[in-house]
């Protein structure tokens, strides 16, 4: 039994048919064609599937798609600015060497964005807490922390 739902995805309204057992990640990567959000474990442990729903970072692999009805969802694709420009957070990740294989990167960036949107001047402890749900096997996290700090600095300058 499928039901049509609508929600705001990266600033635009989308309508999609959803079945009861489907998770938000299935809808994003499938019919909506947004493959930037990755599935690394399906159990809410690795955070590769992190998206932002109504301002909060959430594991889309554990979010029933039907619950997305009427919500505002942002995925990694939504961070890109106009004219093929990347956002400040994305640029900071690139410039600080925070990206290796890149599989954890979209989820990591979304967790960082959720943090910086609500806490523009986070302490290192707050950054670590915000990224605790995101696993990375390549980087050892050091340059990721530096990238988030750098993004916070740059965004502060912009305000």
């Amino acid at each position: 039994m499928s039901k049509e739902i609508s929600f705001i995805l990266n600033g635009s309204e989308v309508r999609v048919a959803v079945e009861g057992h489907q998770r938000l990640i299935d809808i994003l990567r499938g019919p909506l064609g947004q493959t930037g959000t990755k599935e690394g474990c399906g159990e809410g442990e690795c955070g590769s599937c992190t998206v932002i729903i109504d301002g909060r970072a959430v594991n889309s692999c554990l979010f029933p798609a039907l619950e997305a009805e009427g919500k505002t969802v942002i995925t990694i694709e939504g961070l890109q600015e106009t004219k093929n420009e990347l956002s400040v957070i994305q640029k900071s990740f690139i410039e600080e060497g925070a990206i290796q294989c890149g599989f954890c990167t979209p989820g990591m960036i979304m967790s960082a964005k959720a943090l910086l949107d609500s806490s523009p001047a986070p302490s290192e402890e707050e950054i670590r807490d915000a990224l605790q749900g995101n696993l990375c096997r390549c980087t050892g996290y050091v340059q990721i922390i530096e990238a988030v700090k750098e993004a916070a600095r740059k965004l502060k300058g912009k305000r």
């Binding site: 990567r29 947004q34 493959t35 930037g36 959000t37 990755k38 599935e39 690394g40 474990c41 399906g42 159990e43 442990e45 690795c46 590769s48 995925t75 990694i76 694709e77 961070l79 890109q80 990347l86 994305q90 640029k91 990740f93 690139i94 410039e95 600080e96 060497g97 990206i99 290796q100 294989c101 890149g102 599989f103 954890c104 990167t105 979209p106 960036i109 670590r128 807490d129 990224l131 605790q132 995101n134 696993l135 990375c136 096997r137 390549c138 980087t139 050892g140 996290y141 050091v142 340059q143 990721i144 922390i145």
Partner: protein
């Protein structure tokens, strides 16, 4: 030391923007028209005869396009001992054995179909420890070998042995001896992007496979052989490597799931994608091999090592993959880490009904260095010598040949040891006795390729186009380590163009020249050396051609320049006379005369030269191909002799820890790492490699362990298999790179992809001993083990 323009400077990776945007396409994201989804049915028993497989219900499920078993498909044997079958026939030897497979129109139907397949088994007694497997009368895991000959025991027919000097004399000469048995567990690569592939045949029965592989060309060979087994002799496989979500050695073999995808693709006539779930990745993919190492070392009264005796026992699991050859790498530190005159090394591998193992970063070196460097501290204590002094006394020197025949060229071990001791404040922090302590450990690893196969070569095509772009075709694999980044910088530097003009093409056996594989930390060493050779060839051609074109084109430039700047007076300089091939330079895409005046018109943009050369009668395009084969040798592993690499990377890591004696928990206060890298090619990428490897070393040391009970993996998920998160890496990591400038390395660089995790665990264990006086010899060092050891001490 040369001043480089791009090498050694801060440079972000060319592949990073797409990854940051979520636009990089991993196997998980790829789709082919008409694609089906494959799913595998795994065994319900660790050891059993297959009596009957009923696929009828699965075949009837709507949406299923094929169901295959060994009975319905040609036999495909694989693995370097060829003791493994793509689909198991007659017998299963582990829970991960692939018994049947399904292709369906969506993954959920495929999963449902797999559940509808009913298999009847006759369970057999399982064997779960190598010691048990060696006992008389123990059930045989393999009754015959690949050639059908009867087997009489469970020993794997691989010999790894080394004997140098006179072991007895060495023992006699020793005043102090330390003996110990050390073990390491199975740990998993834990790539964030799980294993998978897409197999697709064209209508001429040639195969294309998008694969998560580090060995595209060896895989091509294996898949071509499989095609032959499938009745398609002479047909070709094209292996394409998309963006990978990490590899860490898991791509160094071909896998049953790949052959199964190929069989399903052929059966259905449609592309078939198989991707592992995280549970399948943990339970059914090959992890790092476990090991038990008995080591005895001795030194004389001055602390000089006199002998080293090593026995290694490995649980080979049910089939043979590259984990079986770890001892070939273990003999490197065994014979060549520190100077030891008399060395005995022997390794045995035994089949069991446990999971079988493949390569993982370090490939036997972390396992062996764990034993060796723990034991070094124990020996230092016996001899009452400070562990740092002990290592300095026995350290390797540049330009020495080791008992295995390794020809050490540059060696930064002295600087690495001294750096770590200094940064840890060694003398002050040792033996403080207040539950905190410091420890160190060193490593040797291959840094100039690693010849474990007939060829250790790497080809590269460099193709210039009409726009001044340098197109690179190289068979190395970018798996996140930054290979494409350093290759871009190497081409830019060696050729003389801007990095933005270097285009690295996808790794594809259809277009790239042969490369043995991206392993043994050889990626950058090979690619960049090949790039330098290719670039130099092209520069020679460019400068030859410039003799004719430079004067002509710059004269036109001058005319235009004068029109725009009427008062300009050009310097007195005979351009035509100066236009000699040996007087040109090419930098940032512009050709100019080295000692000539640097006027804006007196230079020629590379693209313009190339177009002029191309668009004329008998025009030409400039490209070149090189095949770089490093000066190393394939060792005889039964004798333990051979200079396996062109150069060797050294390093030392140190840890300062605090132990909570009530809970047994170890808190890492800080870590220090000094690595002999030859030359830093891309500082940000190099740091990333070491931080990442060190984090894996911390996990290895303190909590990573794939738990197996009666063959079953008990923790096949991230909930119960713990890898470091950002909170676990919350201590300062101080990195220092020692540049020994090796003449074999590109721009002086050595390979450093693996060293970062080799000495981490023993450094931590040695620090724990300094802190609370307990020696844990079995990884991981859990709080349980520390508390138990503290209790026993009382």
């Amino acid at each position: 030391m040369t001043d480089f323009i791009h090498i050694g400077k801060k440079a972000s990776r060319p592949d990073a923007p797409d990854k940051a945007a979520g636009k990089a396409h991993y196997i998980h994201d790829l789709e082919r028209p008409g694609m089906l989804y494959g799913k595998i049915k795994f065994s319900d028993h660790p050891h059993a005869r297959i009596k009957h497989i009923d696929t009828s219900k699965a075949e009837r499920l709507t949406g299923v396009r094929a169901v295959i078993t060994a009975a319905s498909t040609p036999e495909i044997r694989f693995g370097f001992l060829r003791d493994n079958l793509a689909l198991k026939k007659d017998k299963v030897r582990h829970y991960r054995d692939e018994v049947a497979a399904v292709a369906a129109i969506d993954p959920e139907i495929a999963e449902e179909a797999v559940e509808l397949i009913k298999v009847e088994y006759e369970p057999l007694s399982g064997v779960f420890s190598p010691l048990e497997a060696m006992e008389e009368g123990c059930p045989l895991i393999h009754e015959t070998d690949a050639q059908g000959r009867t087997r009489t025991d469970n020993l794997v027919p691989l010999k790894f042995h080394h004997q140098s000097g006179d072991l007895e004399a060495g023992k006699q000469a020793a005043k102090y001896i330390a003996e110990g048995e050390y073990s390491t567990p199975m740990v998993q690569q834990c790539c964030l992007g799980t294993a998978g592939c897409i197999a697709e045949f064209d209508m001429s029965s040639n195969l294309t496979i998008w694969a998560k592989t580090q060995i595209p060309f060896l895989a091509q060979r294996d898949f071509n052989r499989a095609l032959s087994d499938m009745g398609l002799p002479g047909k070709n496989t094209r292996v394409i490597v998309p963006t990978l979500g990490g590899a860490f050695g898991s791509g160094l073999d071909t896998h049953a799931y790949e052959y199964i995808a190929i069989l399903l693709a052929f059966e259905t006539g449609r592309p078939v994608k198989i991707v592992y779930t995280r549970t399948e990745e943990f339970a059914n993919l090959s992890p790092r091999q476990s090991s038990i190492t008995k080591i005895i070392q001795g030194c004389d009264q001055n602390g000089k090592l006199t002998f080293r005796e090593v026995e290694v026992l490995q649980d080979n699991g049910a089939y043979t993959s590259w984990g079986a050859t770890y001892p070939s790498v273990m003999m490197m530190p065994a014979t060549s880490l520190y100077r030891v005159p008399h060395v005995y090394f022997n390794a045995r591998l035994v089949y069991t009904n446990n999971t079988y193992c493949q390569a993982m970063r370090g490939y036997g070196n972390p396992e062996h260095t764990w034993a060796l460097e723990s034991n070094m501290d124990e020996l230092a204590e016996e001899a009452e010598i400070d562990p740092f002094d002990f290592r300095m006394l026995n350290r390797n020197h540049p330009n020495e040949t080791t008992p295995m025949g390794l020809k050490v060229s540059t060696c930064g071990l002295k600087e690495c040891l001294e750096t770590v001791a200094r940064k840890l404040d060694w003398k002050k922090k040792r033996k403080k006795g207040k539950r905190s302590g410091v420890g160190m450990a060193s490593l040797i690893h291959v840094g100039g390729g690693g010849r474990i196969y007939r060829s250790d070569a790497s080809g590269l095509i460099l193709k210039l186009d009409d726009f001044g772009n340098a197109n690179v075709f190289h068979g190395g694999v970018e798996m996140g380590q930054g290979l494409h980044s350093v290759l871009t910088l190497a081409v830019a530097e060696a050729l003389g163009v801007k990095p933005e003009r270097v285009i690295i093409n996808p790794t594809d056996t259809g277009t790239c020249p042969w490369d043995v594989g991206t392993h043994a930390s050889r990626g950058a060493f090979m690619a960049c050396n090949a790039a330098i050779l290719a670039a130099n060839k092209l520069r020679t051609k460019i400068f030859e051609l410039a003799e004719e074109f430079f004067p002509r084109e710059t004269e036109q430039n001058l005319k235009k320049f004068l029109e725009q700047n009427p008062g300009y007076k050009p310097p007195k300089f005979d351009v035509k006379k100066a236009s000699r091939r040996d007087r040109f330079e090419l930098r940032d895409g512009f050709i100019f005369i080295k000692e000539g005046p640097r006027e804006p018109w007196l230079q020629l943009e590379l693209g313009r030269l190339l177009r002029a050369v191309h668009f004329r009668n008998q025009g030409q395009m400039l490209s070149t191909e090189v095949f770089y084969d490093p000066p190393n040798e394939l060792p005889d592993f039964e004798k333990g002799l051979g200079n396996i690499s062109a150069t060797y990377a050294y390093g030392t890591q140190g840890a300062e820890v605090e132990v909570d004696t009530e809970t047994g928990e170890v808190k890492i206060l800080r870590m220090v790492a000094a690595h002999d890298v030859g030359k830093v090619l891309n500082p940000m990428a190099l740091k990333g490699q070491i931080y990442g490897a060190l984090a894996q070393g911390v996990g290895y040391a303190l909590y990573e362990e794939l738990r197996s009970q009666q063959g079953k993996i008990m923790n096949p998920n991230f909930r119960d298999y713990k890898i470091p998160r950002v909170q676990e890496m919350n201590f300062p990591v101080d990195l220092e790179f020692i540049e020994t400038d090796d003449s074999y390395g590109p721009f002086g660089a050595k390979g450093v992809a693996e060293p970062g995790l080799v000495p981490t665990a023993p450094a931590i264990a040695n620090a724990i001993y300094d802190a609370v006086g307990v020696r844990i010899r079995d990884l991981p060092i859990t709080p349980e083990k520390i508390l138990a050891a503290l209790k026993n001490r009382k």
